[in-house]
């Protein structure tokens, strides 16, 4: 399980290969399905053109929450590897924000776990986005009701 908060970009292929190598050390090559989710910065917030975005987080709590979420996913699905990387600091349209990678023997477990990780990350992990429009004041992004509703899909 890899959890990282970083300013620098990530390389998806490289992160997958790290997880595959780690799993291979167990002596088995039982990974059959790899799902990745990457969130990227869009150039519009509704109808407002965006110049840049900055991401603040709560050091300490962020790592704790992401670890809890990853552990919960590993309880629910037979995962063979999990990575969550979230960038902080200043980002521009097109830039990567977040990466989730799940490895499993079967595809539905990998898909569902990645989907679950993103829903929980969106509602639980203490990150806040501030958008700088092309014109005018920077403003804090509002939370979406749809993200809260997405969580209810995973109630047991």
């Amino acid at each position: 399980m890899t959890i990282r908060i970083q300013t620098e970009d990530f390389d998806i292929t490289k992160e997958i290969n790290l997880l595959k190598e780690e799993r291979k050390k167990s002596g088995q090559q039982d990974v059959g399905a790899i799902v990745t989710f990457t969130g990227t910065v869009r150039d519009m917030a509704g109808k407002t053109p965006i110049n840049s975005m900055s991401l603040e987080h709560y050091p300490g709590m962020t790592e704790k929450e992401l670890t809890d979420i990853a552990e919960e996913a590993n309880k629910r699905w037979p995962l063979l590897g999990t990575t969550i990387i979230h960038r902080i600091g200043d980002l521009e349209p097109g830039d990567n924000i977040v990466l989730v990678v799940t490895l499993s023997s079967h595809r539905h477990a990998a898909f569902e776990a990645a989907d679950f990780l993103m829903d929980f990350l969106k509602s639980k992990a203490p990150f806040w986005k501030k958008e700088q429009p092309l014109e005018g004041e920077a403003n804090w992004v509002d939370a979406r009701d749809s993200d809260k509703q997405a969580l209810s899909r995973w109630e047991k």
Partner: protein, 83 residues
């Protein structure tokens, strides 16, 4: 007690953290918010809309009815928007 503020809560209060002696009468997170509001208009502005304020004790999400008990660190912030 260490109190942390993030995002627009931090901006409205004008600081990211402070160390405060909390009166014994302050038992819950909700009590703490009410007490903080007596400290000045910047706190009143930050906590004006209490339903939108999230809180964490010792780096775990809690709701406003939670007892402070052995809290070392309390944080206030808007709903999270990462990912």
């Amino acid at each position: 007690m260490k109190i942390l503020y993030f995002a627009w809560v931090r901006e409205k209060i004008g600081k990211s953290q402070e160390e405060l002696e909390i009166p014994d009468a302050v038992k819950t997170v909700a009590d703490l918010i009410l007490w903080l509001e007596t400290k000045g208009p910047e706190y009143e502005a930050a906590f004006a809309n209490k339903e939108t304020i999230n809180s964490a004790i010792n780096q775990s999400h809690v709701d406003h009815s939670t007892q402070l008990n052995n809290a070392n660190e309390i944080a206030f912030f808007p709903p999270v928007t990462g990912g």
